[in-house]
Symmetry: D2
Subunit: 162 residues, 4 copies
Amino acid sequence: MLNRVILIGRLTRDPELRYTPAGVAVTQFTLAVDRPFTSGGSKEREADFINIVTWRQLAETCANYLRKGRLTAVEGRIQVRNYDNNEGKRVYVTEIIADNVRFLESSGGGNREEGGSSNANANAGYGGGSGSSNRGGGSREQQDPFIDDGKPIDISDDDLPF
Amino acid sequence: MLNRVILIGRLTRDPELRYTPAGVAVTQFTLAVDRPFTSGGSKEREADFINIVTWRQLAETCANYLRKGRLTAVEGRIQVRNYDNNEGKRVYVTEIIADNVRFLESSGGGNREEGGSSNANANAGYGGGSGSSNRGGGSREQQDPFIDDGKPIDISDDDLPF
Amino acid sequence: MLNRVILIGRLTRDPELRYTPAGVAVTQFTLAVDRPFTSGGSKEREADFINIVTWRQLAETCANYLRKGRLTAVEGRIQVRNYDNNEGKRVYVTEIIADNVRFLESSGGGNREEGGSSNANANAGYGGGSGSSNRGGGSREQQDPFIDDGKPIDISDDDLPF
Amino acid sequence: MLNRVILIGRLTRDPELRYTPAGVAVTQFTLAVDRPFTSGGSKEREADFINIVTWRQLAETCANYLRKGRLTAVEGRIQVRNYDNNEGKRVYVTEIIADNVRFLESSGGGNREEGGSSNANANAGYGGGSGSSNRGGGSREQQDPFIDDGKPIDISDDDLPF
DNA sequence: TTTT
DNA sequence: TTTT
């Protein structure tokens, strides 16, 4: 009924941009978020590694401007997907579907547009078409679109979070 | 570096209260949080099922006052635990460590105190001791404390989130 | 750069629905939010009284379904307006521009639609026209649109938050 | 009942550290938070100027490490104070009482400790005493403690937010 | 494995 | 009264 998450952390690696069969952009990255305490007597501060997913225009902006190590703020909602793995066991995947991403470290620019604002919002560019007619069909939520097996990904457009 | 989650949803079942070997209270429950849209042409609104963990005083208050179906607000942080399952495979578990829980539906009272405030905060009652000397040992983060196998649970006090 | 507020509290009075000269709906209400502590040795818990503003479709839904005393969750951003009062002194007004409002108490229905979902989001119905051509002009941010002086309100459409 | 704010912005000036009569540290600063849109046809992006208040240990850390222009994340709750000004008119002041502040730009260090973590939490150092016996008295919430008139400030310890 |  |  209300589902809001705000995180600040650093990318563990470069973001991965893909496209659904219908041509909708999705990018995925992981944020390392330091815990607010040290535990177990150890001096080393632990982190949580949290998976972030962005869609459409925001996905492309993230792919262009985010890089491994960058300090980044993410706003979105928690989503729990599930799929059956190759042993027929149900697996649950928790991700943050981001609708607002802030680049907190300027970087010398992305690989496309120059002078981009350090500013990316799910509603900017929204409605700009992007041809979301549903094809690809297939049983929804049945396999993990983020397991990279070399084959073309099969994200049903039903997975679109808006 | 910053990690904040706010959810409103309904308990899918009664909360489960347990104690670590050192006597620290932990309660676990799942919140069904309706998604803000309907998907796949279907009219039925989907939900995310999100696992919540509370500790100490807040754990006991939740166990006393929350019940299946109750509308509840939760504030906390995302935590990603991992452990190796019985096939030696690493499993990741995402949970919300709550530090603030609000009971949005009055209920005729819990099973202990009467007239309790619909209000529960991790810092209330905090510092009240509760004997957190670390015993129990065991390899930290190696097994899921929430897999209920009938045996007494073995949550190391290293797992305490503060 | 990032500005997010989440509140749960009760309406201090019925919401007020108005329209800008261009016909855009605005509703205003105040949320009483109990503080998480009691202060000054007193037993009486204090509250903060926080002004909420909603626009367009969300404004109309709030006007229809919210009433004095209702427990309500609000998500939005803080905005600080300023205007010069009749003594020529600059006055600052802090409000929450809500984009998501949840009705936490069912109520027997609003005064229009029956069976409405307890659910109201700024993006639902967004883009549904509502004739936002800018007329009315006038000096922007010069007087408080929420001071009710009996005269027709003068909210410039420049004040629209999106 | 629930009151949570998260902001990212830049300090408009250096923070101001003061002490209540009982010796409790308070620091105040203003965050300029860019709005997520440009308005009125203008190309210049507007900002909200939001007042932040921190107490105790967190106040001292902020005074040491924050400076004008620094990109900063703030987590806290909205508070609305009121007082009667010199014309006997009630004035309302909205502030964010921060309990978590993140320094998003490293800076070459503060003016006291070296090697400080870019990390400041209200609960660290909390309970460290700080002698909060209430003296100074005076009518609570009657005058604005942040109007700087050259005289020693008179913040009653009743104003402490925890 | 899920709530209204 | 405002920051980059």
